[in-house]
Amino acid sequence: MRKLMLAVAAISISSAISFPAFAADYKIGVSNTVQGNGWREQMICAMRAQALVEPDVSGLIVSHRNTDSAGQLEDLNNLIAAGVDAIVLNPSNPDALNSAIDNAISKGIVVVAVDAGVTAKGAYILSNNQEKYAYLGAKWLFEKLGGSGDVVYMRGIAGVSADTDRDNGFKRALAEFSGINVVHEVFTGWQQDQGKQQIFDFLATGIHFDGVWTSGIDNVIVDAFVESGAPLVPIVGADNAGFVQYLTAVDGLEGAAVTNPGSVGGAGIALAVDILNGNAPTETTVLVDPVLWENTTADGRAVIEAAQNPNLDPEWPVSVTVPGWTDYSMDQIIACKGPSS
């Protein structure tokens, strides 16, 4: 009881300090339709942590389950009924949610889509720059190979906008290096087992190649090389904890991880608060630029080692913050606690 009293006292004092009298009292709703995926869980935790540190946010309602677009419409309408001031969502489809988003905007609710776009007029979109993601990694790989060589190109899911954007970035880099040749192109479906089987199959053909670009199915590709005893070639992946750890731990592996933070969710909350406070960006689409971490220089290795944290979920992307957007600490996102509503 004493502890409780102390805690209450501490909270009331800290809130008196950090919540000045003029702080707004925003309630924000979150909608997400994929549960149990490391990237999406990080996104949700980033949203909670950012809402916690925003002085103007007093409540966060999270609708987070595995469902289809009709289910997301239901969740969005429930959030509207709950009287939220802003909705931050990871849309299941760019077109399917327009009826609810239009309804929200007509009620003066700020709508921010993170990770993927929506076509509804008046909604803001904040996402990772997938074109640049692919360009950075591909350019590093092609330079690493001295501007000439054969590469394996392992994509994501056909028809998904992130894959299409990444393909454009990859092709842009390819156009700059006339000596680079794509010897094999496959869709991994962003499935670990599928990607691993595909690289095993290709290794078995004996066709020569000098490097691999992956769309985030990365650590299992390293596994496949190690397990089959094939000589390692430079590999490009995403900043998933498993792959980043390999970059420092696997002997002879030269590679680069390009950041694709799930913490854009936290940036989405920050953007929603900015808009509510009258600081809307001039463009409705805001792109977060990725960063490349490579393990072939001492500086690069230092960056990778600093990013690692044994407390992070191994399925989470290692980049837990979005510089310039998020304000929470590493401990706060791991704690995954939002403001009490």
Partner: protein, 313 residues
């Protein structure tokens, strides 16, 4: 009057539960009103049709695990065909193909004598593949008037169009059948197949009919999905388990022969409003599913206790 009440105790009880939950919603969110009711009815739409279809096959003594997949096929057919042939023709095509898919399910079950649960589990994957063949990624376009047909209220504010759609479709499809010889055969087959057979009921044909009706309702379910989202989605939504849950909560006996369609449809609304309440209350999303399951099993258990007592008295 008392006879009517006695026969429909479960359904009336569910209705009372729904009204209590509605009142509770109003107390935690005082702004909950006409638009809240409208979005509740819209959200219930695909679940209501999946549940109606499931209820018919459960009454005949079967189960259809492929309802969500048939709905996915119907939604992509609707979204692909409507821009080409127009809304009305698209609806007719979808309803016909839905009925045919149901008939194929029933036909395979009757012809092979393989248990319903095995056949429809296999068909779940078959129809899922068919949906992906028709449309690999979400797309297509529903007619605008179809999307408008479930938006808002009609006659008086607070009577959602979506609710009226459910009421009309289910009454027009089910009431004539229930009063006909086919309806009697469906209940007879479900309650005791051998007795029904010996009384001259054509059991096989009856079952195929029941699955066809289920397919027809799934057709309406698919149409409601494209009406809600405006596009077709090839990956099935969470309608299978939700429909089984609503059927059980709605007082249809798993095993067949007893229950109706009104109870399960009210149960759909009960389950939807529980989700609304949990969202309004800002309950942790990882806990909401636990609460949903707990509420369901508690209601069924309580109802069973009351029914048992009532039966003894």
């Amino acid at each position: 009057m008392s006879e009517l009440v006695r026969k429909n105790t479960w359904t009336l009880g569910l209705l009372a539960l729904f009204l209590v939950l509605l009142a509770f919603t109003k107390t935690i969110q005082t702004n909950f009103g006409v638009s809240g009711l409208e979005s509740l009815a819209r959200a219930a739409l695909p679940f209501a049709f999946a549940t109606a279809g499931m209820a018919v096959v459960v009454i005949v003594g079967g189960i259809d695990l492929s309802v969500a997949s048939i709905m996915a096929v119907c939604s992509v057919i609707a979204a692909v065909s409507m821009p080409v042939v127009g809304g009305v023709a698209g609806i007719l095509i979808v309803l016909t193909l839905g009925t045919v898919m149901g008939a194929i399910n029933g036909g395979v079950i009757v012809a092979t004598k393989v248990p319903d649960i095995v056949v429809t589990l296999a068909m779940l994957f078959v129809w899922e593949g068919v949906a992906l063949l028709i449309l690999e990624t979400p797309g297509g376009q529903a007619s605008d008037w179809l999307q408008a047909s479930i938006q808002g209220s009609i006659f008086i504010p607070g009577l959602p169009k979506a609710l009226l759609v459910i009421a009309i479709v289910v009454s027009v499809v089910w009431l004539p059948i229930r009063r006909s010889q086919l309806g009697l055969s469906i209940y007879a087959t479900g309650s005791h197949e051998i007795a029904a057979f010996r009384s001259g009921v054509s059991v096989g044909v009856t079952r195929i009919w029941a699955y066809s009706i289920c397919g027809l309702f799934c057709g309406f379910g698919g149409l409601s999905l494209v009406s809600l989202t405006g596009i077709g989605e090839p990956v099935p939504g969470p309608y299978l388990l939700a429909s089984v849950a609503a059927v059980v909560l709605g007082g249809v006996v798993l095993g067949g022969g007893r229950g109706g369609l009104l109870g399960p449809i009210i149960a759909v609304f009960v389950l939807r409003i529980i989700r609304t309440i949990l969202t309004l209350a800002g309950v942790d999303p990882n806990i909401t599913t636990i609460i949903e399951g707990t509420v369901m099993v508690s209601v069924v258990m309580l109802a069973a206790i009351f029914t048992y007592r009532g039966g003894r008295a």
